[in-house]
Symmetry: C2
Subunit: 202 residues, 2 copies
DNA sequence: CGACTTTCTGATGACACCATCAGAATCTTA
DNA sequence: TAAGATTCTGATGGTGTCATCAGAAAGTCG
C-alpha cells in the first residue's frame, strides 16, 4: 500500500473522484455494465486516466473495496465495542450494520456487486468473498463473548453466526428490489429474533 | 413453452445432455467461465448444436432454471404440505430446503450462479431474482398459517421471512467455500433458532 | 437406392472490453 | 519565459464472447 503522503494533491483528488464515480456506476448499473469507459464518462475524463492512476481495473476495484470497508468498520466497530454486555453488543451489531446500509446505500451496493461478480480462480470463490469469511468469524467472537459471560444458551456458534449474517446480507437484495424498503422495521425485528434465539432462559 | 411431445427423441436427449453439462460447468467453473464453447466441450459437441437446439445462450439458461426449480419444488413442497401444524411446516421448510442442497449440490450452485450473475436491465435486478421474490412471499404464507392458527407470537411476517430465507440462502456460499460443510448440523440449529424466534410463549 | 429432412461441424463476422502508447496539454520550477 | 515533469487524450491492438451459416454427415422413408 502506497502511503497517501507520497501522492500529489492532484493525484489524490483524481483517485478519490474516480473511486466515487466507480461506486456510483457499480451501484446504479451493476457490475457487468461497469466498464472503464463508463466510469471515465461518469468522471468526464478519458479511459487512460484510470489506468494511469490505478494501473488497471483490478486495482481500482481493490481501492473501492478498501474505501467501503473502512466506511463500514469506522461506523460499526465503535458502536459495538461500547456495549457493556454481549447481548447488547449483538443488538448494536445488527443495528449498526443496517444503519450503515441506510447511510451508505450506494457504497454498500457497489461492494456487493464486487463481492458477487469479481471472478477468482476457476471454480473457486471470488477474491473478495474473504470479506464475508471475516465477517462470520468476527461475529463468532461476539457470540463467544456472550457464551463466556453466560448470557447465551448453548448453540453452535458458527451456525448462529451464519444465520445472523445471512439475515443481514439479505438486505442489499431487498434494497435493490425496493428502494423504499423499511430498514428500521427490519432492524427492530432482527434484533428481537436473534435476542430470542440466543438468550439463556427458555 | 413447447410441449416435450412435439420434440424428437433425439432432440429431447440432446437438450437434456446440454442442460446437464451446463449445470456441471456453471457449478464447477462459475458463471463468468461458463461459455458456450466450454459447455460444448463438456458435451463433446460443437458450439453450433447449442444454438441449434436452444436458439441461444439465454434460452439455455432459461431451461436450466426451469429444470432446477422443478427439482426443488418436487422435493420440498410435498414435505411441507404434509405437516399438521405451521410450526412443523416451518421445520419441514428449513429441513427440506437444506436436504435439497445436500442432494442436488451442483444444480443448486448452478442456479445461484445464474440468479446472481445474469444481468437484467441497467441497474435493475437480474431477471431471475424474481425467483427469490417468490420464495419470500411463499414463506410469508407459511408464517400466516401459523399466525391464524395462533401458534406464533406477533412479529412482522415479511421481516421474519427475510431473516429465514437469508439464513438459508447463506448456505450455498458456505458450500462453495467448504465442500465438507456440515449441512445436518446447520439444519438442526436453524430449526431451533427459528422455532425459538417464532413461538408464542415467552 | 435415392430424395428429403434432421442434425451437426467449424469457420467467420460482429461486437465489447481492457491495456497500451505516442503525442498533446498542463503544471512546476528556475 | 524556457525546460522539464506531470497529467491527459483518444486511437489502436489483442483477446474473448456469441450468433450465424454454408456445407457435411446422419437419419428417414418411399
Amino acid at each position: 500500500m502506497v502511503s497517501s503522503e507520497s501522492r500529489t494533491f492532484i493525484e489524490e483528488a483524481r483517485r478519490a473522484q474516480i473511486i466515487t464515480c466507480a461506486i456510483e456506476v457499480l451501484a446504479d448499473r451493476g457490475y457487468p455494465h461497469t466498464t472503464l469507459a463508463r466510469i471515465a464518462k461518469q468522471a468526464k475524463i478519458s479511459t487512460g486516466v484510470i489506468s494511469y492512476h490505478f494501473g488497471g481495473k483490478q486495482q481500482l476495484i481493490e481501492a473501492v473495496v478498501a474505501e467501503v470497508a473502512k466506511l463500514a468498520t469506522d461506523l460499526m466497530l465503535p458502536r459495538i465495542l461500547a456495549q457493556p454486555t454481549a447481548t447488547e453488543g449483538l443488538r448494536a451489531y445488527i443495528e449498526s450494520n443496517l444503519e450503515f446500509m441506510r447511510l451508505h446505500r450506494k457504497p454498500l451496493l457497489a461492494l456487493v456487486e464486487i463481492i458477487t461478480h469479481v471472478p477468482g480462480e476457476e471454480g473457486g470463490p471470488g477474491p473478495y468473498s474473504a470479506q464475508s469469511e471475516v465477517a462470520i468469524t468476527d461475529l463468532e467472537k461476539l457470540l463467544e463473548w456472550g457464551r463466556l459471560a453466560g448470557e447465551f444458551r448453548d448453540f453452535d456458534q458458527r451456525s448462529m453466526a451464519i444465520a445472523i449474517r445471512g439475515a443481514i446480507d439479505a438486505v442489499p437484495g431487498r434494497l435493490l428490489h425496493d428502494p423504499n424498503f423499511d430498514l428500521d422495521l427490519l432492524a427492530r425485528e432482527l434484533v428481537t429474533i436473534f435476542a430470542l434465539a440466543t438468550r439463556r432462559q427458555a
